[in-house]
């Protein structure tokens, strides 16, 4: 299962929650599959989806799901210790771990070689770290939401991309629409 198939499968779960989506293809895919005001698309700034999601979860009560990638988490590895030490039980970090930098042409990441992000998260002090297959993402995500506990989900899946257009929405429109959904 590749990332776009996973996003399509879990769109019904994501739809009810605030979603901070990683730069590049993940945001483009989510935008194409189910664009709505509760989605915050990152158009730049690789690596910060998990940090933005944590800040958002700490600031208000609604459930926040950050959709991140293995390459992006590697670029901001400190985030896992910040998350572990600032628990927000309305926060779920979902790392789609396809072992490659999808948006730049599927070059391998170190997560696709020796590095195990789920073990890094545990070593950082994250208390609920779950690894699942792409096929089980929806069920795992729903269980994490229902648990009311901050959870890190590492989804192991295949690398691969579909062709799709870039997001042309104005960033301020994305942000303003999202903030209204947060406050709603």
């Amino acid at each position: 299962m590749i990332r776009s198939e996973i996003l399509r499968a879990i769109a019904p779960v994501l739809r009810d929650h605030l979603v901070v989506c990683n730069i590049g293809l993940p945001s483009q895919e989510l935008h194409m599959i189910d664009d709505n005001a509760k989605n915050f698309y990152m158009l730049g700034t690789m690596g910060l989806a998990s940090s933005i999601g944590l800040g958002l979860a700490l600031a208000q009560d609604k459930t926040v799901i950050s959709i991140d990638g293995d390459g992006s988490v590697l670029t901001n590895l400190g985030t896992l210790s910040t998350i572990a030490n600032n628990v927000a039980d309305n926060y779920i970090l979902m790392i789609i771990d396809n072992g490659s930098y999808g948006s730049t042409g599927d070059q391998p990441t170190y997560a696709g070689r020796k590095t195990r992000l789920e073990k890094v998260a545990e070593a950082c002090g994250c208390e609920n770290v779950i690894t699942c297959r792409g096929e089980d993402t929806g069920e795992t995500l729903q269980a994490a939401i229902d648990s009311g506990k901050m959870t890190i989900i590492v989804v192991k899946c295949d690398s691969g991309n579909i062709k799709l257009p870039v997001i042309t929405m104005d960033p301020v429109v994305i942000r303003d629409r999202f903030m209204k959904a947060v406050a709603d």
């Binding site: 700034t45 940090s51 600032n86």
Partner: protein
């Protein structure tokens, strides 16, 4: 009143309730004060770009944020300032320890000090420089300005402002 308390009082008076920090000797008193205040959620970050991500999320969640860091962080955060804070038009007061200015004992700090204002100017970031303690009288107005215009704003505080580096 201590300058540390005055600064944090101004943050609180401007409804700032989410502060991220990266450690600094000169800003240690302010950071301690931030940690002690009930009305402020203090989330230390490992790196300043991560901190700006936290601030962006907190602001979208309804809390006014601020970041406290050293001027070397400008080198670390240019991409984040341009593609997140400025691109999505978000307010972010940046209280910055301006190392490498007069009375600096560490030569390497000067290497980023000479680029600091030029980089901030290149990014069109409104920049204020506190050199003597009375300069901090403007902090309240600077914070109001930041949340009026939804921009990152830099407040550089140099060694003279903090009273030097002690015995070094």
């Amino acid at each position: 009143m201590s300058i540390d308390r005055k600064i944090v009082d101004d943050l609180v008076a401007n409804d700032i309730s989410f502060v991220t920090t990266v450690p600094c000797k000169q800003l240690a008193g302010v950071i301690e004060e931030v940690e002690a205040r009930d009305g402020i959620l203090h989330v230390p970050s490992n790196k300043e770009d991560e901190g700006m991500g936290l601030c962006a999320g907190a602001w979208m969640g309804g809390k006014r944020p601020a970041i406290i860091m050293q001027n070397t962080a400008i080198g670390v955060t240019i991409n984040t300032l341009a593609t997140l804070i400025q691109y999505y038009r978000m307010p972010l007061p940046m209280l910055i320890s301006y190392r490498g200015e007069l009375r600096e004992p560490v030569a390497c700090q000067v290497e980023m000090a000479v680029h600091t204002k030029a980089l901030l100017a290149q990014l069109n970031i409104p920049t204020y420089h506190f050199h003597t303690q009375s300069d901090a009288d403007e902090l309240d107005a600077i914070l109001k300005y930041t949340f009026m215009c939804n921009k990152p704003v830099a407040i550089l505080t140099d060694a003279s402002f903090w009273g030097g580096y002690g015995d070094q």
